[in-house]
């Protein structure tokens, strides 16, 4: 009797799922994962024999499985229920904090060498280097109990002591700032606007620039349901999102997205606020080359920022002090940055990376 019922019910569930798989419309893009879902592979003997046909078919059926997102939520809920505090490389922290696990660097010495070579070929040019930590060491106290210490801070200091650049260490500033404002998002791997602000202050101190006080900006709440990349890794339906703020100061800007031939007067793109990927609000996600001119300033100061996405929410603060800022994302900019610096007679450079990205970035290792 028992076996009969199990056989019938499990078969029925399977038949329903199979039917739905065929009749439900197929999404092409997963907002949550920020990637295109696998397309139905086209058959060829070549694909069959090199194994890619069957591999893609497997990914296709799995990607388009009915209720896929719900099934993933179910898995997360189950793992949380049985007390797992580390799911898909995310720690389930205290006070609803989700904190990405830190993985040990693989390319550290290689990147140090590349950056030192880069600076050697740029004599007379001042290069600042800011390596941003992540939530795991700034929100240490929010980690679940018994998580062993991450070596992130040691790795950051290793970079600082081996690079021949002007280091801008923001660790202490972020620790201090975190007492007043959240420096990192709970559900996204980026720093918050406040995190960027506190590091901006540090940047100014190092460069003898008179920084703006936080109350000189307009604080504006952009969203209260931001669910970023870390949320996506869990797809935990019990999470409703978090607040996102900006600190704005009206400047008369000309922002030029060079390779997409687009000119605008703002660093902020409202269109992303209705989407899942809200962090792209800053500087329209990532572009190979952006030039920003502040028409209110006439100090002839030019800065080149070589960066990852962390800089996107940081650059708005810098526009208050430089007449021209050039922003290069080496992941998308394949030309010689050294040539660019010479051609545009730039005298000051800031390299801004997050400790995770710098190790895995495919752009920085080909920087030249």
């Amino acid at each position: 009797m028992k076996n009969t019922i199990i056989t019938i019910i499990v078969s029925l569930i399977s038949i329903i799922l199979i039917t739905l798989m065929f009749i439900l419309p197929k999404a092409t893009f997963s907002d949550n994962e920020n990637r295109y879902l696998e397309k139905l592979p086209t058959f060829s003997f070549e694909n069959l024999f090199n194994g890619s046909y069957t591999e893609n078919l497997k990914n296709y059926t799995t990607d388009h499985f009915p209720f896929r997102e719900q099934f993933i939520s179910l898995k997360t809920s189950f793992l949380k229920l049985i007390g797992q505090k580390e799911i898909n490389n995310i720690y389930i922290g205290k006070d609803n904090y989700l904190i990405e696990k830190y993985s040990n660097p693989k390319n550290r010495d290689r990147i140090i060498k590349i950056l030192n070579n880069f600076s050697n070929s740029l004599e007379n040019i001042e290069i600042d280097f800011m390596l941003v930590p992540t939530s795991i060491i700034i929100n240490k106290d929010k980690l679940p109990n018994y998580v062993s210490k991450a070596s992130e801070l040691d790795d950051i200091n290793y970079y600082y002591s081996n690079l021949k650049l002007n280091n801008i260490d923001v660790y202490n500033a972020l620790i201090e700032g975190n007492k007043k404002y959240p420096m990192f998002y709970k559900y996204d791997h980026h720093w918050t606007t406040y995190g960027a602000y506190y590091s901006y202050v540090e940047y100014c101190k190092k460069n003898n620039i008179k920084y703006l006080n936080i109350d000189e900006f307009n604080e504006k709440k952009l969203a209260s349901d931001f669910k970023g990349t870390i949320y996506s890794k869990l797809n935990d339906f019990t999470i409703s999102g978090e607040d996102m703020y900006i600190l704005n100061k009206n400047n008369n800007l000309t922002v030029k997205y060079v390779y997409s031939n687009r000119i605008t007067n703002t660093l902020f793109e409202d269109k992303y606020l209705d989407k899942k990927d809200k962090y792209s609000y800053f500087l329209d996600n990532n572009h190979p080359l952006i030039t920003i001119t502040n028409n209110d300033i006439n100090n002839n100061k030019k800065l080149l920022v070589i960066k990852d996405s962390y800089a996107n929410s940081f650059i708005p603060f810098l526009t208050n002090h430089y007449e021209e800022i050039h922003v290069i994302d080496p992941r998308f900019y394949n030309l010689s940055i050294i040539d660019y610096i010479k051609e545009n007679s730039i005298e000051k450079v800031l390299i801004l990376y997050n400790i995770n990205t710098i190790d895995s970035d495919t752009g920085i290792i080909s920087i030249h």
């Binding site: 199990i6 497997k58 499985f65 990532n286």
Partner: protein, 460 residues
């Protein structure tokens, strides 16, 4: 293709079952063959030829052995031919890389390694076809006239890639004439589910834990963490392998085949001798029947007896993989079995049960350590860490963290390693039924998340 995947569970298997049960009895083997070939071709289409070749050779050998019934010499030549061909296939496709690197290491030569990918299931099907020829030679079974039946026997997808090693004699009757009943179908169905749960829920999660712990700096992990890691691996390997066997036996039952059992709660053994009667039984009996006994078994001088045991275990080790650690692993068990047989077996039997369980588990776990790493130095370092001889801590926060994290999975692993029989009553059957359905849905959730890898391109 693997059983624990969406395409198999929701496309291949249902479609196969529908066709298999729709077609008349005469065509069932053909359907089974076609689907088995698709199943095999899923990963390695080209190697079908190899399997076909091995099957053809032994099919023809069977015919020849029958033809030369009266000539001992000719029969013997045919048998030698079968063994040579099968072992040659194995050597070329499984061991050539290992043999070449070993020769290069010893002689300082630089013969280039062909790096052939291992044909899936070759260790299983060559043993099956070989056993067929041997059995026909010995007169244990009648030769198979129908090539279709023989090829179905070799290529049958349920047991093709991970056993059990089904002998021709086990299913020769079922190949040509089997009865399919709903009773058998549903008990096979439930058996299949049980294997699926073991593989997806227990083995995979233990594997995750093991992969975290084994990626640490092994000389620096605490004593308890190292134990947690290797215990997780021991559970992973058991539930992975026995889960696959359950799924194979289950599908076999649904189709009307009775495959031999392969695992019988190996972790409750009280000695290593007992462990090998409970672990991968179809392999141990294969070696017993086709190597150990032909060599003389125990009915010979003590020296020869010891030699026979060591040969069997050297080969058992080698069968599991082409690397030194597998040879060490095999001999490790060979030596323990000799010790149990000749030195302290009697003493062991008189000791309290608890002590015998600890003794067996300890040796099994150390065995898995040898099995886990191809690099002998890592095995040594890990072993030293397990006993605190690397100057490592006894306890660290990692141990507490990962034990708490996996408490439910670990407990489930322990419970399902022990035979527990419930008295069947209505209440328990309702609970079991509901649990099976929930676990099935959970398995789907775990499998679907397989490709769920948020691509964080805006990291850059």
């Amino acid at each position: 293709m693997v059983f624990s995947s969406i395409p198999f569970l929701f496309f291949f298997l249902p479609l196969f079952l529908v066709l298999y049960f729709l077609v008349p009895k005469k065509l069932k083997n053909l359907v089974l063959l076609i689907f088995s070939l698709i199943f095999y071709a899923w990963g390695e289409p080209i190697y079908i030829i190899l399997m076909l070749f091995s099957s053809l050779v032994d099919y023809i050998n069977g015919l020849l052995l029958n033809k030369f019934k009266s000539s001992k010499l000719k029969k013997r030549l045919v048998l030698i031919f079968s063994i040579v061909v099968n072992l040659l296939l194995l050597s070329v496709f499984k061991y050539s890389g290992f043999i070449i690197t070993t020769i290069n290491d010893i002689l300082g030569t630089s013969i280039s390694n062909p790096n052939l990918p291992l044909p899936i299931g070759i260790s299983f099907y060559t043993f099956q076809t070989m056993s067929y020829s041997i059995d026909v030679y010995m007169g244990r079974v009648k030769y198979e006239k129908n090539f279709l039946n023989f090829f179905v026997y070799v290529s049958m997808f349920p047991q093709l890639i991970a056993g059990p090693i089904v002998r021709y004699e086990d299913i020769s009757r079922e190949l040509s004439n089997r009865t399919v009943t709903f009773e058998g179908y549903k008990s096979g169905f439930v058996r299949f589910l049980r294997g699926l749960f073991k593989k997806v829920l227990l083995a995979n999660n233990m594997g995750l834990l093991w992969s975290i712990i084994s990626s640490y700096d092994i000389s620096n992990i605490s004593v308890l963490t190292s134990w947690l890691g290797i215990i997780a691996y021991s559970f992973q390997i058991y539930f992975d392998f026995s889960g696959y066997s359950d799924m194979a036996i289950g599908i076999g039952k649904m189709l009307g085949f009775n495959y031999p059992e392969n695992f019988n709660y190996p972790y409750i053994s009280k000695s290593i001798t007992e462990f090998w009667r409970r672990w991968h039984m179809s392999l141990s009996t294969w070696f017993k029947d086709y190597v150990y006994i032909p060599l003389g078994g125990n009915r010979c001088s003590k020296i020869k007896h010891i030699r026979n045991i060591l040969i069997v275990w050297l080969l058992t080790g080698l069968w599991h993989g082409s690397n030194w650690n597998f040879i060490i692993w095999g001999l490790y068990f060979g030596i323990i079995l000799l010790l149990e047989k000749f030195i302290y077996g009697r003493v062991l039997e008189k000791l309290p049960k608890v002590f015998r369980h600890i003794y067996a588990l300890l040796l099994i776990i150390i065995g898995w350590l040898i099995f886990a790493f191809e690099d002998v130095n890592i095995i040594k370092t890990y072993l030293l860490s397990m006993f605190g001889l690397n100057g490592n801590l006894v306890l660290d926060s990692n141990f507490i963290f990962y034990t708490i994290n996996n408490l439910v999975f670990l407990s489930a692993c322990i419970i399902f390693s022990i035979p527990i029989k419930f008295k069947s009553n209505k209440f328990i059957s309702i609970i079991t039924t509901i649990t099976y359905i929930i676990l099935f849905i959970l398995v789907v959730a775990f499998l679907v998340s397989d490709t769920y890898n948020p691509f964080l391109y805006f990291r850059f």
